[in-house]
């Protein structure tokens, strides 16, 4: 695109910011994308997804493969169950305590083994699945559930990949640092949840 064609377009957008601010790009798939991006919008769900992903990044790849599959399946089942039965979301205290524990485990960097990794992933997946908000309406709820399923598994995969990349570049200490951040956030959230109740 040349300056000649760009100038009128940029000028038009500059004087009509409403066009850019409308952000109705999701259209009919709004519930899907809303739930897909829910870990970014809801800090409680984002924290637990990030916490288990960081822990998995500190584990051997052989454990990670099965643990992530378990996380994806159980997360999907939990969200799917929410379509059938109204489920209460996890409280902040439970999320915070879980995140702090996972962060400390990640900080230590010890090899937990296959089955403990799977069990922890399943627990985190249940909490993350319960945190998905399903709207009213069959179609909207189904779309949101699908988005929530993808969001949990994809979010965990992306964070795991990022931390794994950092560890490859800077050494395993990078994962320990991120683990300490997760533990710190979880600790603060525990205190707040106590005060809030």
């Amino acid at each position: 695109m040349t300056y000649r064609s760009l100038a009128p377009l940029a000028g038009l957008l500059a004087v009509s910011p409403d066009v850019a601010l409308g952000h109705d790009a999701f259209g009919d798939l709004g519930p899907f994308y809303g739930a897909l991006l829910h870990p970014l919008a809801d800090p409680t769900q984002g924290l637990i997804v990030a916490a288990i992903a960081v822990l998995l990044a500190r584990q051997p790849i052989a454990s990670v493969r099965w643990a992530w599959i378990a996380l994806a399946i159980v997360g999907a089942l939990t969200v799917g169950l929410g379509l059938l039965v109204p489920l209460a979301g996890p409280g902040l205290f439970v999320i915070a305590l879980s995140a702090a524990g996972l962060g400390i485990l990640a900080l230590t960097g010890s090899d937990l083994g296959l089955w403990p990794s799977i069990v922890l992933s399943v627990g985190a997946a249940v909490l993350a699945g319960l945190a998905v908000d399903l709207p009213d309406g069959t179609r909207a709820a189904a779309l949101a559930a699908f988005g929530g399923m993808v969001g949990i598994s994809l979010g965990a995969l992306l964070v795991w990949g990022l931390v794994d990349l950092l560890q490859t570049r800077f050494g395993r200490v990078a994962g320990a640092v991120v683990g300490s951040w997760i533990a710190a956030i979880g600790t603060m959230a525990i205190a707040f949840s106590i005060v809030a109740t």
Binding site: P17, P43, S180, T187, M188
Partner: protein, 195 residues
Amino acid sequence: MTKRTLAPASIFILLFVSVASAHTGEGAGGGFVTGFLHPILGWDHVAAMVAVGLWGAFLGPPAIWLLPVTFPLVMAFGGALGVVGVPVPGIETGIAASALVMGLAIATAFRPPLTVAAIIVAFFAIFHGHAHGTEMPSATDPLAYAAGFVVGTGLLHLAGISFGLLSRYDAGVMAIRGMGAVIALAGLGFLTGTL
């Protein structure tokens, strides 16, 4: 004005308008951003956080990672005290003193045993955490706020570590010690109220 000059100007205006209108500070984003900026916009916090990373890098492994890991964990403890309303005396003094003490340690190339360095960092982390934690309950989204200030603090540590890696070179050591002196002077300024 030609179209050649109009295009960049239009794009600038477009970006400016969008940014100004998009972020109202509400919701989780506002909480995260507020927490993220809290340690970054306070010069006393910045000086001390950079000093932690700088000192860790200056001391070398394992301090280079142990100090930045110790700090957020103990800071969270201090933050929890602030959240639940447990008073800690001399918060501002402690924050200012942290820059002074760690700046002096870097400037004088003080190399204490690792445990002592960790205890010094941990002690001051309580003051910084308490300052952040006190404001947490009033944040738009307290959890996002906590995440923001932990990440902001961590990135300041990384900035200090990055600069501290110059300690591999003789000239770099002098530059780091000079920066430590600047941080110590800033801490003195915070402590006396001149800054």
